[in-house]
Amino acid sequence: MAEEEDEAGFDEDLDEGAGGTDGSHGKRKRLFSKELRCMMYGFGDDQSPYTESVDILEDLVIEFVTEMTHKAMSIGRQGRVQVEDIVFLIRKDPRKFARVKDLLTMNEELKRARKAFDEANYGS
């Protein structure tokens, strides 16, 4: 039933006209429309993707973030989301794991570089 719910959910999004609460996917303000369009083009879609497809993708991404957040809250330190939790959750997926490691390493390097740069300026 849960799987069918997701499919039916997409159709409802397109059809529902009545006012929705915060919980409904359909009535939430679109958070990532512009960025998702660029992203879809970058990943191989047409230069102007369909709005419905962008909406579906946005809903999926928001659901993904929500699920990850809930899972992260339930492991490690309860009620908080920490990087280690995310890394743990993603460990089985090679792409995402590598990407997170990449990003965090890069971030550290950038912080170090900025700090060194600032100290150099301060010294001189």
Binding site: V61, I86, A98, L103
Partner: protein, 204 residues
């Protein structure tokens, strides 16, 4: 946050160097074992930037290959890391060069697409707001960085799968909702989409 590979490739013509071909290259953006002649794990392979002496993730890998021969562990520790770092640097440099050659041969449309691929990102503020609205407490910046990163990978996986579906069904881009839904269905069956709503009750 600045685009990682862009920092080192300033010496090259433009921001697009050291990237990969547009269509399916999410797998190579976060390098995956296929690029990996030496069967290192992906996280070590992904350090394709100029600070190759960076030992942050490097130390992790050295431990993995340890201790199979009869050599004393300390000796191995000294020799192995340098050899592996050199190998990794060389592999990185090869990869960078190959990327540069590839990107320099892109057509205009491919360049556009590649630029969009590298530059597009979720806005940190919105992601942070979203996470904080779920947790109710504040989250660190690293969490936001990690979450936006994997969300982009996730979006890429869906779009790639949807493009496969689209091609398989004999349609053309732009992608239609039916392609997206079929892609989601396929990814779900491969368990690449997290779903905690459906509880599987073991002994009923």
């Amino acid at each position: 946050m600045a685009d990682p590979a862009r920092i080192k490739t300033d010496s090259n013509s433009d921001k697009l160097a050291a990237g990969k071909s547009p269509k399916t290259e999410d797998s190579e953006e976060a390098p995956v074992p296929d690029a990996d002649a030496e069967s290192k794990d992906p996280s070590s392979q992904s350090l394709k930037h100029e600070h190759k002496q960076d030992s942050v993730a490097g130390d992790d890998d050295d431990d993995d290959d340890e201790g199979t021969s009869g050599q004393p562990v300390s000796k191995k520790l000294k020799v192995e890391p340098e050899k592996k770092k050199e190998k990794r640097q060389k592999v990185d440099e090869d990869e960078i060069q190959k990327m540069q050659v590839l990107v320099s041969s892109f057509s205009e449309e491919q360049l556009n697409r590649y630029e969009m691929y590298r530059r597009s990102a979720f806005p940190k503020a919105a992601i942070k707001r979203l996470i904080q609205s779920i947790t109710g407490s504040s989250v660190s910046q690293n969490v936001v960085i990690a979450m936006s990163g994997i969300s982009k990978v996730f979006a890429g996986e869906i779009v790639e799968e949807a493009l496969d579906v689209c091609e398989k069904w004999g349609d053309t881009p732009p992608l239609q909702p039916k392609h997206m839904r079929e892609a989601v269905r396929r990814l779900k069956s491969r368990e690449q989409i997290p779903n905690t709503k459906h509880k599987h009750i073991l002994f009923n």
